[in-house]
Symmetry: C2
Subunit: 123 residues, 2 copies
């Protein structure tokens, strides 16, 4: 019943903790294998699923792309994706004006915003 603290879990969480941008399963697998070379894909999926269920990891799902993972608990934010270099920038804060988009009869609980364009470097 008690959850166990394994090398695999520690390696995966360490990778997520030190990442500066959301990572794909492949990214996580390759990075974590530097600590635990025998790490398998299946384990990465299982550990991520468990961490997500516990609310310790958040999924960043861009339209038409594979899901990315980041540590949860950061302040509410969204992402800006540069269409040239593909880099993802975190956008802090979030417009209160969203509430006015929907009629009052709707009860707005959550939202996702993805911004696309050119970043300062690529302009």
């Amino acid at each position: 019943m008690a959850e166990r603290n394994t090398r695999q879990k520690r390696a995966i969480q360490a990778v997520l903790a030190t990442a500066e941008a959301p990572l794909s399963v492949r990214d996580i697998l390759l990075a974590a294998r530097r600590d635990v070379p025998s790490l398998s894909q299946g384990t990465v999926y299982r550990v991520l699923k468990a961490l997500t269920a516990k609310g310790r990891v958040a999924i960043v799902q861009l339209p038409g792309e594979v899901p990315l993972y980041e540590v949860a608990g950061k302040s509410h934010h969204h992402f800006f994706r540069c269409r040239k270099c593909d880099h993802m920038y975190e956008i802090e804060g979030c417009s209160k004006v969203l509430r006015h988009l929907v009629p009052d009869e709707f009860q707005l609980e959550d939202h996702e915003i993805f911004l696309f364009g050119l970043c300062p470097v690529c302009r």
Copy 2:
């Protein structure tokens, strides 16, 4: 070279044209088979891909779900998804305030907004 006007394409476009909400590939396949029973999944994918490339169809990609398709050319809008009945409502208009979310050095070109909550019926 010249594109041909087949029963399959007509059936698929008719389904999209009369749909009141974005449809999945499965939805489209089942509906279009009422006109063309022999219609195959592969053809649906190919026709949708072609229509999308020509800008006649738009993809609605909700995080973690299969893509949905709708006729393009509607006025700019986003979606509100009821987390209880799963119905999707179109939200007209879109906040200009988005531009203020990103620093001036970023060149904002496009965006996606998904709203989640309870619709008037389910509240």
